[in-house]
Amino acid sequence: MTEPNLIRNFSIIAHIDHGKSTLADRILELTHTIEDRDMVEQVLDSMDIERERGITIKAQAVRVLYTADDGETYTLNLIDTPGHVDFTYEVSRSLQACEGALLVVDATQGVEAQTVANALMAMNAHLEIIPVINKVDLPSADPDRVRHEIEEALAIPAEEAVLASAKTGEGVRESLEAIVRLVPPPRGDADAPLKALIFDSYFDAYRGVVALIRVVDGSLTRGVKVRMMATGAVAEVEEVGVRRPVLLPVDELGVGEVGYLITGLKDPALVKVGDTVTLARHGATAPLPGYRDVKPMVYTGLFPIDGDQYPELRDALDKLRLNDPAVIYEPESSHALGFGFRCGFLGLLHMEIVKERLEREFGLELLATAPSVEYRVTAMSGEVVTVHSPQDMPDAGIVEKIEEPYLKVTVLVPPEFVGAIMELTDLHRASFVDMQYLSATTVEMHYRMPLSELIMDFFDQLKSRTRGYASLDYEFQGYEPSDLVKLDVLLAGKVVDALSFIVHKDKAQARGKVLVEKLRKIIPRQMFEVPIQAAIGGRIIARETVKAVRKDVLAKCYGGDISRKRKLLEKQKEGKKRMKQVGAVEVPQEAFMAILKVDD
């Protein structure tokens, strides 16, 4: 147990790619928490996929020991937070476990959307924010401008911002000194009943669920019985300890300390992020504030390309869920694609990552249908149904109203792109709320927009129309009624349920037309003609045709051509394997995502 006055709990927050993971690595090195030779770049991003994409998905916590300029050795708990807007809830819980935050801003890019979003979250959590201007080693670094932006955009004093280069190591020590000096030590009541916040968890095949916790009041020792206040689960403490980052058991964790808890519980549903751990007997009466049951926002159908892999997909989802309880799934069947699962994710990135993990870690070949949001449908009878899949949408005849999730969207962009943003948002049913200049070079624009429009390629379009300068943040804002219809797609005269999608009435015609045109280009020519039709309620609104293939032959096949020709035929066969047979038509995977790109 450590004296609270010598503890500092802090997080590093930043916009993506501004260098927070590199800074975390330097801190670990400087404090000799990890010896140089064991240093794998960006240690805390332990998943391959995280490393490849340069983002953090799972929060991690590490205890480092730092001997400051004043001679004292402080216990610094570094809590690394997820860096993407899909994971806002996790970020907020991790911040709740801290008293301070290093706000890292790239000296060349300046303040961006998530800089603002994360800073606001840190302020709401009443954290002491220490600006760190990173990548000052780069030739285009402009610390003065960035200091200015921080003060203007966030009203955070920045004359004493630490100038750093996580790459070279400059400013790392100064950052730690600033933490010791400016971040308040944790306060709590050692005599009160135990209250510990679970700010993250992961699953270990041998030990069960490992919860990362911050002790607020009381203390946690091995052997006591504890209760999770939101889920109601009761268990005995098998082990408590700190992460260095390897797990190091201790006898007791006291007020202000950050560490891990192992109870032997194996069901992640029982150990939830944001929950409060207290004693089973004579425990606390009120939980810590802020617990929320995380809701998925985006749904997609995942189907194995080879129908025989359905059991493997089910097992894979079961296993994956242990470490990622935010994913929800239920069996779904499609006439076109067979048996699969309708899965819910926190956002598009979450969805992409999960699909990639399923394919990579479990060797599955999956087909994903276009993502859809959760609709709330009120029937004439008054009954309210939630719909996750376009094929479950009830017939227009019995529907009173359909409500869809809306977002508050914030876009940060240089002034010269304001026009481009307005054009883009116009295409996506977004309504302008307001706009302000954060600085001479950054405009902040606010919109209200349906989530279903955001998932239609909005982010990529945003980046390409602003040459990458724009950044985006969004927040769920509630459900609104919309004039929505279901658009069906027919191939060779048969409705392909997996291609159906929900669209606003005003956009149905245009999108339907572009979609069938796209499909005509995507679907390869077959031995017969394939009509492609878009229909609403049985009424055809657009049509294209894929002509039958007439010529598919390599006419020249002399001595030197034979090997090459065989390889070509083998390649053709491989190409076919990636297609899905939908009735008599061979359909490539891209067809199921074609709807996402109709606004190109």
């Binding site: 598919d552 032959v553 001595g559 034979i562």
Partner: protein, 401 residues
Amino acid sequence: MVVSAAAEPPLAVALYVHVPFCRSKCAYCDFYSLAGHEQLQPAFVDAALFEAGHWSHYDLLDDVPSLYVGGGTPTALGGELPRLVAGLLETACLRSDAEITVETNPETTDAALVDALVAAGVGRFSLGVQSFDDAVLRVLGRPHDARRAADAARLLAASGASLSLDLICGAPGQTEASWRGTLHRAVETGASHLSVYPLSVEGGTPLEATVAAGSVAAPDPDVAAEMMLTAESVLRDAGLYRYEVANYARPGNESRHNLVYWQGGAYLGIGPHAASMLPFRALRDVASSECWALGQLAEDGQPARARFSRDVQLLDYLKGPLASPGPFELLSAAQTAREDVMLGLRLVRGVTHAAVEAAGLPEVLRRLEGEGLVESEDGRWRTTERGWLLGNRVFGAVWNG
């Protein structure tokens, strides 16, 4: 020194020579050849003869049923070409009735050269015409016009040797009328053999670049399909019958050399960019004497067939014409059987039921029959009219099993 086993007859091996020279490069062609560089021609002929001698030393040229001199443009060698042909006839043991073919282009076909070649034993010329429509010839980047092509054809027809013409359909801007015109003029030359190819855009060619840039339309496969059907009917009316996917001939004038490729016969290719196929046992001894690394079969068992193809720059070939002719590809007995069925189905005569059974393919053939792509007649399987145009479906099903 390899001692020939007197009891066993020598392996029949068709001989091909790749001459990597052209006067100029055509827009669509991706074969290896150099324009100009005439000063390297004598050295090339020396190297090719040296390589032929090498194979002969291993008794692989003891029974040569056909010699085919292609490229590039063999007649670009000018006076060196008769020397090449004479040298090959001396080194290799050609059968008395061997078919000897030389490829040529209109702009390098001159009377004296033709006479010299015929005197040396050449009995067959294959003239690259492609089209008798000047507009089409321009799009293809051919160095001659229709009149020159007709003159060359006339000259060759009068030489006493037999004549074959190469034609291209489906070129950008080529109309059905232009194509019919070309077909009729081709028949009028008195050629007894015609090859008809739909234009394909190959990587790295000037045509690929112009199509990508949009200045030339990409060949339309549906138009090409129509033209292939037209060719079949026009030529049939003129007495030239299709005997292979792309080849037509008056009965008895089929290319014996090319038939070797489609009937699983052995062949050797000489030159910097030439392909060969030998039964594995024929290659094995040579390879071990020469220390060529043949590699391994992907699966268990002994390899039955070897395919290899040299792919080097001319200068490297001149420095070392006896260097390994690989890379080598080994096929198992099962793969060889399937390959033979695949190649055999390119021929109008098709393959025997027995060959199909030996390759384990009866079910595949029946499935193709159900799709109207092959048919069974008189104990043989053959590709149908519909099957010719969709040949890859037939060949793919057979090879992939």
